[in-house]
Subunit: 317 residues, 2 copies
């Protein structure tokens, strides 16, 4: 369930492009106008606005936005205006770079997208970086992280609902043994998490709970807190089975951390506004007893705040 | 360069469907008529013939062919009539089954197809088997074979010509060290072979030859002949750099083996007739001093022989 609010009838792309142009003209920039347009257009509509803008003014809208805007607001607008596949490719590429490296973001992109969305990210990666996503992930990670992350970003999971309960029972048993021995990096654990369909993984973890009396994430809490690979494994399992809970945790730490983590906040809002931000918002409130929108407005300012609130569908547009 | 001969003007799909129907009617089957149609239609044309046949007779042409034909001829017709993605999915699935298991076929499908062709195979695998290709490959292989094969079948290589010569030099050095220490299953060797673009791999192996005075395949010959993983690694490198030479080797052993290996012969001819069978044929003759067509006719009989010869573009149609 998306939070994005798009009115049934929107202006022609050329009109939107023209309006955006006026927002840039003259002294200063009309951020409100930019938000009122871009924060209320679907991915497809944003795409044709970019095309119209390019045809009319011979410029890439993103470059102009980059020039005109700054800081967190700029980052939110740029990430939002990109096509989802391009956006994921950019997030993944940043996650392989030294100063912005993040195994968590790589895992998040790999596990919370559908197979087609992940494929679009890989295709956009080719076009944008002249390399394959897995090439960069493999080159910039090592050891167990490489094994897990390369397997996750190269997966192309079956997305049907069919599950094999016999297999679920076998693999629940296998996973249980590995966890008991604290072999969290075991090849078969990684194989199951990176090749099985999400429905099959879910069946395996239901079976795990039935046969071993506790949820797998509970079992994994017994590991060492500083074990970064174990933490990534836990997030992987959460992303594959209950992604909304994972996103709630990310938002919570982004907002509650001393000094907001705008990077994470912007990433989650822009990548989920069109997908499941509504469910995430509901879970957020259940978990933190404060509406997500309120938590965000308490923690952000100015145009950046307005943009996030608009994507949450909470502005009065 | 394909060997498939398709005349510029072919009958309407419904006419072809009707002709195929007559080939099944009455006593016995008119194999010549089947060959004259199917062996001279492109993948796209075969696809619409199947649709027309289904619309007109309410049956899947493949099922009827399966009923009407037998043995090697049937196998050649069925493999040929499938869409390339479906065909590769079927070949890969067979290669994970106990009685027909073949790491070589899995590697061949993963390394000699373009990124889009391999993607189509993975998509067809979803549709046909309700599972992912990598799920089955991972489940049915172990150890080093699993590491290599799962990485190869999940690759989505960048296909541009851009190469990074500094990287090529670094990775040539790295590969050389691993081979010197006979660490053929090293994680970085597998990483390079399964994630880099073919152009980059080629640049790395050129650099290897320049800096270390011999071709990489030559260095790999020093390993133990019974080392099956090493043999698969050699084939992988050949498929990624000079696939036509790999196919010549497969054809050669299929034909020269005491008792022809029809499975391999049919696989290569049906999967390459529309792609590069002409170049393979030329290399075959250079290597074996006998035209491929002659070598095949010396070794095959009847309708099976006629079908292969037609796909080689050597029948008088």
């Amino acid at each position: 369930m998306a939070t994005l609010k798009v009115s049934d009838s929107v202006p022609a792309p050329s009109d939107d492009a023209e309006q955006l142009r006026t927002a840039f003209e003259g002294w200063g920039t009309n951020e409100d106008l930019i938000i009122s347009i871009l924060a209320h257009r679907s991915a497809e509509q944003r795409k044709v606005i970019r095309q119209a803008y390019h045809e009319t003014y011979g410029e890439d809208l993103l470059k102009t936005l980059d020039k005109e805007l700054s800081n967190d607001f700029e980052r939110a607008i740029l990430l939002w205006t990109l096509e989802p596949g391009e956006r994921d490719a950019l997030l993944a590429n940043e996650a392989t770079k030294r100063w912005t490296s993040s195994n968590q973001v790589l895992m998040e992109v790999a596990c919370t997208r559908t197979s087609t969305q992940l494929l679009h990210a890989r295709q956009a990666y080719h076009a944008r970086y002249k390399k394959s996503l897995e090439e960069d992930v493999a080159h910039h990670t090592t050891g167990d992280f490489r094994k897990l992350l390369v397997s996750l970003v190269t997966s192309y999971r079956y997305e049907g609902d069919e599950v094999n309960m016999t297999l679920a029972k076998q693999e629940a048993k296998l996973v249980h043994e590995k966890i008991k021995d604290k072999h969290y990096n075991d090849e078969d654990v990684i194989r199951i998490l990176s090749t099985r369909s999400k429905a099959q993984i879910n069946a395996t973890f239901n079976r795990y709970q039935d046969d071993h009396g506790e949820e797998i994430l509970k079992s994994l809490e017994e590991g060492d807190d500083d074990d970064k690979f174990l933490a990534l494994l836990r997030s992987t399992i959460q992303c594959l089975t209950r992604p909304e809970l994972y996103f709630v945790d990310v938002l919570r730490s982004a907002i509650n951390k001393t000094g907001t983590d705008e990077g994470a906040l912007t990433r989650i809002v822009t990548t989920r506004a069109e997908i499941d931000l509504k469910v995430i918002g509901e879970e957020y409130q259940r978990r933190n007893s404060i509406p997500l929108e309120k938590a965000i407005t308490k923690d952000t300012r100015g145009d950046y705040e307005k943009m996030l609130v608009a994507l949450l569908g909470e502005d009065d547009a």
